[in-house]
């Protein structure tokens, strides 16, 4: 049997942390783009689009991410669509993230007082101009804090990508725990690393929130 020193454990977990970060970034960027697109469709198109997007949100918020990942990876393959683990993870995490982000952002847009739309409209601005120059600047100020806060959920969510073969932080922890027979130590380190990654992000989100409330 091979001996794992504490340093071996921490070093390997830190290496695995790269994948956690990479997956989080993919999810966040993909989810942000898709979420932004859906939000614009929702605002610009009629009640049909609103209903469809409502279902979309319901679907991806109403099922465990674990199963979304599983179906994206194995399910699509069974349907004859070849997807790599990266594609599947990017796909599932993007869909999942966008479903939450579009809800968060919708709330922020709705929090902009109706009078702002009306004032912009009565100044003869077009819909796009109203959105771009009046509504979105205000909504995005409201949105920053909850969006950053949601990043924490995404980071934690990537832990589930291990079911489709990613050796990210949680999976690496499991493997090392098994080879080293020090599960408490290893999972302690895993929890700490997640905390070290997430807590600054949470703190930052709270700071932003407070700054917005003060103004």
């Amino acid at each position: 049997m091979i001996e794992f020193t504490l340093w071996d454990i921490v070093r390997n977990l830190l290496l695995a942390l790269r994948w956690t970060v990479a997956l989080s970034l993919i999810a966040f960027i993909g989810g942000g783009l898709v979420g932004g697109l859906l939000l614009t469709l929702r605002l610009g198109l009629g009640s049909g689009a609103r209903r469809l997007i409502g279902w979309y949100v319901q679907l991806f918020q109403g099922t465990p991410l674990l199963m979304q990942l599983f179906l994206a990876y194995f399910g699509l393959a069974l349907l004859g669509i070849e997807v790599s683990a990266w594609t599947a993870a990017a796909l599932a995490l993007t869909l999942y993230t966008s479903a939450y982000l579009v809800e968060i952002w919708r709330g922020c847009v709705e929090a902009v007082p109706r009078g702002q739309w009306e004032a912009a409209r009565s100044l003869a601005l077009s819909f796009g101009e109203q959105l771009r120059h009046v509504i979105l600047p205000q909504a995005s100020r409201l949105a920053i804090a909850p969006t950053v806060g949601f990043l924490v959920q995404v980071i934690k969510g990537t832990a589930l990508a291990s079911v489709i073969g990613f050796v990210e932080l949680t999976k690496a922890g499991g493997m090392i725990a098994n080879a080293s027979f020090k599960p408490f130590l290893v999972f302690g380190c895993v929890a700490l690393l997640y905390f070290a990654l997430c807590f600054p992000v949470s703190l930052f989100a709270q700071r932003l929130e407070r700054r917005i409330h003060v103004r």
Binding site: P113, S126, V134, R215
Partner: protein
Amino acid sequence: MSAEALAVPIVRITALRKSYGTNEVLKGIDLDVMRGEVVAIIGKSGSGKSTLLRCVNGLEQFQEGSLTVNGKPLLYESAMAMRDLRQQVGMIFQGFNLFPHLSVGRNVMLAPTLVKKRSPNEAAEQATKLLRRVGLAEKFNAMPDQLSGGQQQRVAIARALAMEPAVLLCDEITSALDPELVGEVLRVVEALAEEGMTLMMVTHEMNFARKVADRVIFMHQGRVHEIGPPAELFGAPKTAELKQFLSSLHD
């Protein structure tokens, strides 16, 4: 401007009806507003005053009747036509509705640069001029939340004027202000009226209406209940409703 142009009403409202669901809020309104005229609209809460104003610049869709501004009828289907209309008709709200993320100057410049495609320099010059006119020349770079309510409302007036509208709609523009700030806003509106701006204003300030308006309209339950020069309406109200309304104000 020729005498004929003056004789043509700038806003012509004919048999206008508007419902929210089954609740009919405007029950057939007929009203012509002449160029340069100042019309004050008074009436109880819920009588449809705001709704009428909002129909004039297309913020609300009405179901029956017609409405023309400068001879052009309202076309809800055409976004272009609506934008043209709104360049003719400015509106000022009770809650000011300044854009909180833009400085005072940029609030005034926004619509001219976007809609009229003014160059930033030109727009800034115009904004400075308008802010001076409402007595706020030195606030160009201030943010809205650094201003008092009265100052914010004056900026809103400047912003509406920047589009050079033919008609200005004012919906209870002093109701959200502390009493000692009301005067500064009304003085600006009075000056506008004297310079010949066409004004349709909903107001609770009867003294002001008496002083400035050419005609006063008393609305009651979605109808124009009484209409006439202020001296007549306030001095000798004909209907019981108007009498009661006026007496409720001087308690």
